[in-house]
Symmetry: C2
Subunit: 594 residues, 2 copies
């Protein structure tokens, strides 16, 4: 059976040594009240136990058994109910929540590490706190005091979970064309009618209630994205005194049959004059979604890292255990019939690729989380504005790049196992199937890349982008005289210069051809990602070089950074060339000639 | 339901226009007797019907139901038995077989196209003729006249299928350490005892008998790969008169639970003093395997193309049907709620990537097949030697590169579908799961890459490699004055120069460090692959340019070649950089520090 151990050492390295989270926390009163290094450490320790001891052991069986719809009820695999209880009893749903309603108010930098553990141990389960947290976030910002009082405490405490109901059969990326209707009632509530698909944990038997946030259109709404409103629609209506009342008119039409995350319920949800309450203003639904979008998207990137870490750990164990052939440099374990496959350069290449992409991703998501925290917790308007710009810019990259690299990692982690990687019992193929969805949902990676180059760069004349480049260049400047850093700084400089050039190239091209943005977007995002990871590795190498002699951890950090710099970072060169291949070659073929 | 239509036009283009197979066939008496363009065309037409009408409709259900082991019997999904009968009644098992025993003696260039159709329509089923053909090939070369007379006719005719039994639980890549024993009997037969795993179609209910080719060790065999012998072990013993006799002592221990190709039985096979007959000489087992290895490996590459083509076709249909958002250049279908997603540059990028990789792969496998045919059918010793060198060199590239690119293609074909790509009913995710095994079995792609750079290049001082480069350079020379070809020839020249440089770089480095070969191998193979596809596109562009005005097909060919040249070929640059990152950075981490 595959095993999962939370990578606590690396998480602490990022929080305490690279990003010095404690300093930031101490500066922000709302954080200073609730968290310091010691508290964070204790939380990480406890989370690691839940992930390793409670969630990971359910992962394989959950995949085999799946969640089932029986007489309209969603039945989760054996053990999930108990895990849910352990999870909510431990207060984990409350971790990032608003203290006013029972949340713990923890920063995303810490919450993100906990998320990685839960997702890494069991992605199907991990989706549950993720969706609930997202729903709570939106409700917290856009809900009336009454709605918040009524719903948030039970969601933070766990008896009620949350779901996001956006997609319809004909409307995925293009939410402007949804058909679900909301008709106002005299009492201020609305009647919601329509069908939603792909609703993760839209229903299940672990919680007493499911709180849906549903996108729908008011009768007089303008067409397109500006005519969408967001409604809170509980599965079971809540009485004035907070007790559960009658069932609302919601039902599960069916569960999807999926490639992966099979233990999670992906519901077709039917709303048939279900009672709902408006969140945020009329026709402000998409705005309300964006509130939680940055968090959710960073969360999806983190899912990728979690799965990749899990795959890496099991691949390392296998590579050290499996005896097969001899090292190219001669027998390493002559007393055995063959050497462990860890001796083979290509096996190491695969493992180091996974390791570098996972460490780079973990650092990058923590870096993004730092900006989310700054935006949420700072009292300084300028700092907030800066943080908002950065998070706008970085979110699509975290979501896409960390999930693209996670697929690569889990594929490599499967390949290390040879034929056994294809066999379900070993668990490696499940991670590939599970992680595959992260490139698709919460806005496909193609859509993310358009968001990056179109909305986040082109639309503001590169203002956010400039902030980021200035920051990297300022960091580079601090290291110019550090000779030991040259092996990381010089390649980073070259990558940044290339990224700046490439951005200018695309912006210029886009003047003449509206298709040029979309034609360059995916590879552009990847160039942005590889360059960003180079920045992450350079930052962590500064710390690692200072402490190199103290414990092997730091030597390993540098080894991974070197591998990344020499063997993965150069990918930006070809990706940039592909971008410069331009849009014209995409439009030579007529649609009916494909 | 997903659909599959054999890409006959492209297959004919390759056979008749690019490689002018008919000329070669006419020159070789054993081919001239059995095949010309007209016959080939008729075979392609008929195969297309079997693939599209018989095999493709079974593919989704086969995946859902899977093959089951019930009371020791392997039960195939509904419809498979009937399909098998249609397939064998049509003579398809005999296609490439030796006419002396009822085979049709067709060239691999043609057989490969038929294989692509069957694999593309239903990979689980397609494995059956592939394995049978491989077993027949070995038997044909290494079997005694008696064994051939006894077994081949029924295998070509279909009532008996073939299986290859190599892997053991502890011995996959490293066959030298297998434990299965063969003890000689007085009558010239052997008693085979041992356990084999991962035996594709090791047993099933579609054929009357299964003929296993089993690797085992004789009592006095030397240790390692030089002590392996190959035995023919039928499931049911065959009487002197050719009728079926008693059951042999073989049994299916279990079926593997796999990520994909679920309708195919992957058996644990137990041999308990099962009766077998030696094929080839004592301790010559690995040699005997190599006979069919080149065919099988080319066949695995072809499996990749088949799956990628299937995914491409369904992605194109979806991209033209699915309405979502508007073109960046303005509404294209203003009367509808949204434009078909085919208008989006990134959707086109994904589809063209699939198209280019699939067409490039199809051409490259046909090119490799041409050398297989030359080797098998020529009477000219020099020509045979040349062909053998080429096929040695190219086989690992066909196997690996076509399956790596097939995974990329099927992933892209899934991505085009957005969330629906993750849902099983649409079929796209199955193709990803099915194709994934092609990178693993028949020698992992890592092992193939070592074979290429180690055995096929370094070991002979680059002699085979030089032949290939000379051929490409000679082709380039013929096009130097063709101005219209410059857009393809110049990038090809640059790619070839890079490949030559890179090869020299690796050879030189390898002098000083035995790990350098393995450290560079995977990326080196990919550089070789991208360069080879560039050669393929250049060759087909010569033809397409000549006929550009005649039908859209040729214009499309050029468009795809341009897309490949501008947006995919540049990948070799970064891959070469990665190779030059060298081996040292793979060995900084101690094994226990991963």
């Amino acid at each position: 059976m595959p095993e999962y151990t939370a990578p606590l050492r690396d998480m602490r390295f990022l929080l305490n040594e690279v990003f010095e989270a404690d300093k930031m926390w101490a500066e922000m009163p709302r954080l200073a009240e609730v968290v310091d290094t010691e508290t964070a450490d204790a939380i990480l320790e406890e989370a690691a136990k839940i992930a390793g001891d409670v969630l990971a052991p359910l992962n394989r069986d959950g995949d085999e058994v799946g969640t089932k719809l029986v007489d309209g009820e969603v039945i989760t695999p054996k053990g999930f109910k108990e895990a849910y209880k352990t999870f909510s009893d431990g207060g984990w749903f409350a971790l990032g929540g608003n203290p006013e309603f029972g949340g713990m108010g923890m920063p995303k930098m810490l919450v993100g590490q906990v998320e990685e553990m839960m997702q890494g141990a069991n992605m199907s389960f991990g989706l549950m706190p993720m969706l609930t947290a997202g729903a709570c976030l939106s409700m917290n910002v856009h809900g009336s005091q009454e709605l918040k009082d009524k719903y948030l405490p039970n969601m933070y405490a766990g008896p009620w979970s949350g779901a996001m109901d956006l997609t319809e059969p004909h409307a995925g990326t293009d939410l402007g064309i949804i058909r679900t209707k909301a008709e106002p009632n005299a009492d201020g509530s609305y009647n919601i009618t329509g069908t939603k698909i792909f609703i993760t944990w839209g229903d299940h038997d672990m919680a007493e209630n499911v709180i849906h946030l549903v996108l729908a259109k008011l009768p007089d709404a303008p067409s397109g994205p500006k005519g969408i409103s967001l409604f809170l629609v509980p599965k079971i209506l809540v009485n004035e005194d907070g007790s559960l009342g009658e069932a609302n008119n919601t039902s599960v039409g069916s569960l999807e049959h999926k490639m992966g995350i099979k233990a999670s319920a992906t519901c077709v949800m039917n709303f048939d004059n279900a009672k709902g309450w408006l969140l945020g203003g009329e026709n402000k639904g998409l705005n309300c979604m964006f509130t939680m979008m940055n968090y959710e998207r960073v969360g999806v990137g983190i899912q990728g890292i979690g799965a990749a870490e899990n795959s890496y750990q099991n691949a390392v164990t296998y590579a050290n255990d499996r005896l097969q052939s001899r090292s190219p440099t001669g027998k390493q374990q002559p007393e055995k019939a063959a050497d462990p496959i860890m001796v083979h350069p290509d096996v190491r290449r695969m493992l180091l690729t996974m390791r570098a992409l996972t460490e780079g991703g973990r650092a990058f998501s923590a870096y993004a989380a730092k900006w989310l925290d700054t935006s949420k917790f700072t009292d300084d308007e300028n700092q907030k504005k800066h943080a908002d710009s950065m998070i706008s810019l970085l979110t699509p990259v975290v979501k896409s790049f960390l999930t693209d690299t996670a697929l690569e990692s889990t594929i490599a982690g499967q390949q290390v196992f040879g034929g056994h990687g294809f066999i379900r019992e070993w668990g490696q193929e499940q991670l590939v199937r599970d992680v595959r969805i992260t490139q698709i949902y919460e806005g496909t990676n193609g859509i993310q890349s358009l968001d990056l180059i179109g909305r986040k760069i082109a639309a503001n004349g590169g203002a956010f982008f400039k902030l980021y480049i200035e920051e990297i260049n300022a960091f580079i400047a601090t290291q110019e005289s550090n000779e030991k850093m040259a092996e990381f700084i010089n390649p980073l400089k070259a990558a940044v210069a290339n990224l700046v050039d490439l951005t200018e190239w695309v912006m210029e091209k886009a003047q003449g051809n509206a298709n040029e943005i979309g034609a360059s977007s995916v590879e552009f995002l990847q160039v942005f990602g590889y360059t960003s990871f180079s920045y992450m590795f350079a930052m962590s190498s500064v710390v690692a070089l200072e402490k190199e002699g103290s414990e092997p951890f730091y030597k390993n950090k540098l080894a991974t950074a070197r591998f990344y710099t020499k063997r993965l970072l150069p990918r930006y060169i070809s990706l940039s060339e592909a971008v410069k291949g331009g849009a014209d070659c995409l439009f030579e073929l007529e649609a009916d000639q494909f």
